[in-house]
Symmetry: C2
Subunit: 213 residues, 2 copies
């Protein structure tokens, strides 16, 4: 890394800590680019030059805070559990807990950004573009191993699971009394329902229903 | 109805049209109680006396605009289609289209209010308290008629379907390029996936899977 890049990366690290310090004491609505620039000892122009917009700066901040969560998600997709139900649950609970460690109001803003981008078909790198790709890769692997039938539809599965996670995260961000572990357990119930299907009958022989663990 | 009640109901009708006129020309963030009171020729105190808060006034406005949608939903639950997939799809597409006829930014505010209330277990009368009850009634009827197995879980089904509809409505409210019919057809795909279940195999004999139409 040259001196120029080193300087840039040092300054960007300062921006990340300025945001964290700011959000620890202030509502997200009060966060302004000039305040963050001043606290990070750079010009507002440099700040825009680095991130493009306040929105993308906040996305970069979340991505930075969620690095470990992204790494854990990648490892899971590399080497998923054999059961489809466990695979989806473990992947998505990593993301829920990753968001759960962020400032609550920030989670609401991020989900709005992710929903807009998902609806426009322009994923946000590191978030749902990855999560969507990961859900697709997971579904393909589960089909290849015979755990899911070849008829399983990768895009519908990703869409339904993304919708449920958005809703669980919105509840989390809007209600202080809802904690992230409650949302993780609700996710488990939802995935179980989707895995089994409404029409699943208790008397259906297990060998006709995949590995329903 | 006494003169007093008549006056009140006339004034409330004026409030509803003032809100509609206001939202036709202005962003929802600019809506203020004193402006709506003045436009409706009543005092701010009377306005608060009628609705309690700006939030509940907006809920009342949506409820008023969605009266036909609520009536259609009640009729459907009275006399549901035989197929579970069709029953859930028809009920929820009535609500999606009802919201789709409202001002887009208002839909986002309403969904936030409904999500908070759902997470707190305090439904908003006329919205999800009804929709939730209706989903439960529908599920019970479908179980009684043998369309769904007795093991079908009313609350999980309501929770998953509510989550998907919230997400579809958030996309609608946040993205002008997404129209409500796109969301209705996505709802159909999601319900089909949930109906069938991830583990459904094409080679599963139909008689073991309920009336999968």
């Amino acid at each position: 890394m040259g001196l120029r890049e080193e300087n840039k990366s040092r300054r960007m690290a300062r921006v990340m800590s300025s945001i964290r310090l700011f959000l620890a004491r202030n509502p997200i609505e009060d966060l302004m680019m000039d305040g963050i620039a001043a606290a990070s000892r750079i010009s507002v122009g440099t700040l825009y030059n680095y991130y493009g917009s306040k929105e993308m700066m906040l996305v970069a901040y979340c991505r930075d805070r969620m690095q470990e969560c992204f790494a854990a998600a990648r490892r899971l997709v590399e080497n998923p559990p054999e059961s489809a139900e466990a695979a989806y649950f473990e992947l998505l609970s990593i993301y829920l807990r990753g968001f759960g460690a962020l400032e609550r109001p920030l989670v609401g803003s991020m989900i709005r950004i992710l929903i807009v981008n998902q609806a426009r078909g322009t994923g946000v790198a590191g978030f749902q573009r990855n999560a969507f790709d990961q859900l697709r890769v997971l579904t393909r692997k589960l089909k290849d191993s015979g755990t899911l039938p070849t008829s399983a539809r990768e895009d519908s599965i990703a869409f339904v699971l993304f919708g449920i996670c958005s809703d669980l995260l919105f509840q989390f961000s809007l209600c202080n009394e809802v904690d992230i572990e409650t949302q993780v357990s609700r996710l488990g119930q939802c995935i179980n329902l989707i895995y089994t299907g409404l029409a699943a009958r208790e008397d259906t022989p297990p060998n006709l229903r995949g590995t329903n663990t």
